[in-house]
């Protein structure tokens, strides 16, 4: 019995100390952890919306379309509304979900596409994050493009032997772009300075 009590006591003490230690470390690192996560998102937005001078995250607009909430990070500069960035995810990737960040101009053309995360095959589907593939979206809008990969008769050249990944990205870009284009009113009132109403 004595043995058992000793067991309980020692383990409890060690656990308590460990807990305290962890809490302290957590306290110290939590800020930089949050900052790192925030920075990651901001960097992506910055990349697809290079010219804005506001904080797009602070000025984000949420649109509820058929129960799905889309967040548009709005970009402005002194001239007014520049465009928006949105995050879009496709579950049709070869290895799993593909998350992308798309920057759109005010006139509804794609400004840049960044791949945030994917699980595609290295050396194959993984080329969706390559410049060559992403750049072909630039300048396209819903109206002037057949949003499908070439193999399916569309305008987007798929990556050789990685049609599935290419298709998934194409669909993800289109999905967000559709919503952006379909809701011009939500963005039309954005002015150069003040927050959107």
């Amino acid at each position: 019995m004595k043995e058992s009590i000793k067991l309980v006591v020692v383990l409890t003490i060690i656990c308590t100390i460990a807990g305290a230690l962890l809490a302290v470390v957590k306290d110290v690192t939590s800020e930089s952890m949050q900052a790192a996560a925030q920075k990651e998102k901001n960097d992506a937005i910055k990349k697809v919306l290079p010219t804005c001078d506001n904080d797009p995250v602070a000025d984000a607009i949420a649109l509820d379309v058929n129960g799905i909430v889309w967040t548009f990070f709005v970009a402005r500069d002194s001239n007014g509304f520049l465009g928006a960035a949105f995050e879009s995810t496709s579950s049709k990737g070869y290895g799993g979900d593909i998350a992308i960040m798309v920057g759109v101009n005010a006139n509804g053309t794609v400004q840049a596409v960044e791949v945030l995360s994917h699980k595609e095959t290295p050396g194959l589907g993984a080329w969706i994050s390559g410049e060559a593939f992403r750049s072909q979206f630039v300048g396209r809008s819903i109206a002037d493009t057949s949003w499908a990969v070439a193999k399916d008769g569309g305008d987007i050249d798929q990556i050789t032997a990685a049609t599935i990944s290419s298709r998934a990205v194409t669909e993800a870009v289109k999905a967000g772009l559709d919503i952006y284009t379909a809701h011009p009113k939500s963005f039309s009132h954005i002015s150069a300075k003040g927050a959107p109403q």
Partner: protein, 334 residues
């Protein structure tokens, strides 16, 4: 040899067969398919087959020498590995890749285990799958026709019939071509895109019949394999003829004939019992169709066979014949 008499255990008679003899038969049986490959793909077929065979034989000799063992190439199994691997390559594959595949097949998949008889996986298939995963772009680029374009199937395309079907189905579209008796004949004779050795079902069947006649293989594996594929695809076809092609297409297209007759029947990596062979063949068939229908690859023969290779020891265990006069009980077969 001394002048002493030889003493050994009975029996003192032998059928005269040998591993080398069987291998020679298999090589002979592959000659029609080789001829077809050269006819359809010309120089590329010659280039790939000779590269693979030479690389396999050399790799085997070097590996065995390095391991301090006898040369071991005289049993001709390395030649077969080379030919089979080459048969499973697209005509445009760079030679050096074929060589890499051959070395992988012989060194990693065969000699590391101790050479012929010890390898759990068919070396040629291991090499092929390795290449497919390593160099997917090269392994799925199909060259154009060197002979008059086939009728029915889009002549300009650079995809295999199975690839066309997969793409169409994945994009939710209709079937890319109609399958009728003339397309069937094309596929049967070999007028299709594909790996150099798999295109002509007729030539492969000829070789298969020779193997059956020479008793190098039994009908069980190819029979069960082709039968299962036919039944599986037949059911799909009956359920939804819009999305699925007929069993005949599935039997004739892709590497099925080559796989069923030459690769699934590899003695070392397939079960030894007749019942086991049926299970093995059926398993190959189911997996092939599973991959063709729902998988990421248009063709599933290689993966199906190599997966069944993996469970061959378990099949052997489970299908142990009941000893003559033995009681019906599974207590010892765990």
């Amino acid at each position: 040899m001394s002048d002493l008499t030889i003493v050994s255990s009975s029996p003192h008679a032998h059928s005269g067969t040998s591993v080398q003899r069987i291998m020679l038969d298999v090589i002979v049986a592959m000659l029609p398919a080789l001829a077809a490959a050269i006819y359809f793909f010309g120089w590329d077929a010659v280039r790939l087959v000779s590269a693979c065979v030479l690389a396999c034989v050399a790799a085997e000799a070097v590996a065995r020498k390095w391991m301090g063992r006898d040369l071991g190439v005289y049993d001709l199994s390395a030649v077969i590995t080379g030919m089979l691997l080459a048969f499973n390559l697209p005509p445009s594959l760079p030679t050096w890749m074929a060589v890499v595949g051959s070395v992988f097949a012989i060194v990693i998949a065969k000699q590391l285990f101790g050479g012929i008889g010890y390898n759990p996986f068919n070396p040629a298939l291991a090499g092929r799958v390795m290449l497919l995963i390593s160099f997917p772009v090269f392994m799925t680029s199909w060259s154009q026709w060197v002979i008059p374009a086939p009728i029915g199937i889009d002549a300009v395309t650079t995809a295999t019939p199975l690839g066309l079907v997969k793409t169409a189905v994945l994009s939710g579209g209709a079937l890319p071509f109609t399958f009728n008796s003339s397309t069937a004949l094309q596929l049967f004779l070999g007028n299709q895109n594909g790996c150099i050795g798999e295109v002509s079902a007729a030539a492969l069947l000829l070789g298969g019949l020779y193997l059956l006649w020479r008793r190098c293989i039994s009908w069980h594996i190819p029979g069960a394999y082709l039968g299962t594929v036919a039944i599986f695809s037949g059911i799909l076809w009956l359920l939804n003829p819009e999305q699925n092609l007929s069993p005949l297409f599935h039997v004739l297209a892709g590497g099925l004939m080559l796989g069923a007759l030459f690769m699934a029947t590899d003695m070392v990596t397939s079960p030894v019992t007749k019942r086991g062979m049926l299970v093995f063949g059926a398993g190959c068939g189911v997996l092939t169709m599973l991959i063709r229908k729902w998988g990421g690859y248009p063709e599933g023969v290689s993966f199906a066979i190599i997966l069944m290779n993996a469970i061959t020891p378990l099949i052997n265990r489970a299908t142990r014949p009941r000893v003559f006069g033995g009681v019906k009980s599974g207590k010892k077969t765990s």
